[in-house]
């Protein structure tokens, strides 16, 4: 850990807050992608089954 001197709180806050936001955004995009993909698979399988009686 570098010595941040008088600005330890400010610099740490900026890094922790920003990394949290970036991590949260990436996680949200990934989880939403997984959910939508699973939903589409379900609907496609159901449509396929319905088509073949």
């Amino acid at each position: 850990m570098p010595d941040l001197g008088a600005y330890t709180v400010e610099v740490s806050l900026a890094y922790l807050g920003s990394l949290g936001l970036l991590g949260g955004l990436t996680l949200w995009v990934w989880l939403r992608g997984r959910r939508v993909r699973a939903d589409l698979d379900l609907i496609e399988n159901r449509s396929e089954r319905n088509r073949h009686g």
């Binding site: 600005y7 806050l13 609907i43």
Partner: protein, 246 residues
């Protein structure tokens, strides 16, 4: 048959195929640049003689602001493609870019405030550049809300494209307000192609890595988000078809 045109990728099937191949590489490179650049900036750069260690905030603030503004410009181009050529992938790409741009704007505002408090003596000032950037953030929120509020996808794409055209004024002002108005606390460009640029390479090198990392991260999230929007659109179409058949 391929004709080598960019418009080929307006075809969702071709877009999904290409983006599926490219996405892991872009995501990997983005992670390497963001982690490497921020590690370099945080641990390996010296304190500035005037700003002290707060200079390290630049490695977050500048790349985030760069992506926040350029994401809106990308949305503008995609919106124009939608309005003129009616390519659905363009409209869905603009929709997918908005949350990423909004978060980057929040990071730009947040890191700017955290840096401004010790350096300017205030968290916030109604400076032209800061105010334009805050309004850009509100446009991002309005854009996302408008997509959610309208059920018909084509109408939503039309109206959000028009909103994007209007909001572009504030994306431009966020970048150039310091040139248009001489008053205000926010300085001009941190990096410049002009000779005699003010930043030392000890800061400039990690800053370039962070800028590349944030841009690649935006691209990775944009590709992933657009793929999700295309799948969601297909799900809706299949459900409507099922309902009509029943």
């Amino acid at each position: 048959m391929s004709n080598g045109s960019l418009w080929e990728y307006a075809n969702p099937v071709k877009f999904m195929r290409l983006s599926g191949q490219v996405l892991p590489w872009v995501a990997g490179l983005a992670a390497a640049c963001v982690v490497g650049g921020l590690f370099w900036g945080f641990f390996l750069t010296p304190d500035d003689f005037r700003q002290g260690s707060t200079v390290k905030i630049i490695f977050l603030h500048v790349p985030a602001a760069l992506v926040a503004i350029n994401a809106w410009v990308m949305m503008l181009v995609a919106s124009l493609v939608w309005l003129i050529r009616r390519h659905h992938v363009a409209a869905l790409a603009a929709k997918a870019a908005a949350p990423v741009g909004a978060v980057m704007t929040v990071i730009g505002l947040f890191t700017g405030a955290v840096w401004g408090q010790p350096m300017w003596g205030t968290w916030w000032v109604w400076d032209p550049r800061l105010t334009a950037f805050l309004i850009l953030f509100l446009f991002y929120l309005g854009y996302i809300a408008l997509w959610s509020a309208i059920e018909d996808a084509e109408t939503a794409a039309d109206l959000t494209a028009v909103l994007c055209l209007v909001g572009t004024v504030f994306a431009v002002l966020s970048r150039y307000a310091a040139f248009f108005w001489s008053q205000g606390l926010h300085q001009g460009a941190s990096l410049s192609l002009q000779p005699g640029t003010r930043m030392d390479w000890a800061y400039k090198a990690p800053l370039y890595v962070c800028m590349a990392g944030f841009t690649l991260l935006f691209l990775a999230l944009l590709l992933a988000g657009t793929r999700t929007e295309i799948r969601a659109r297909r799900s809706r179409a299949l459900m409507i078809r099922e309902r009509m058949a029943a």
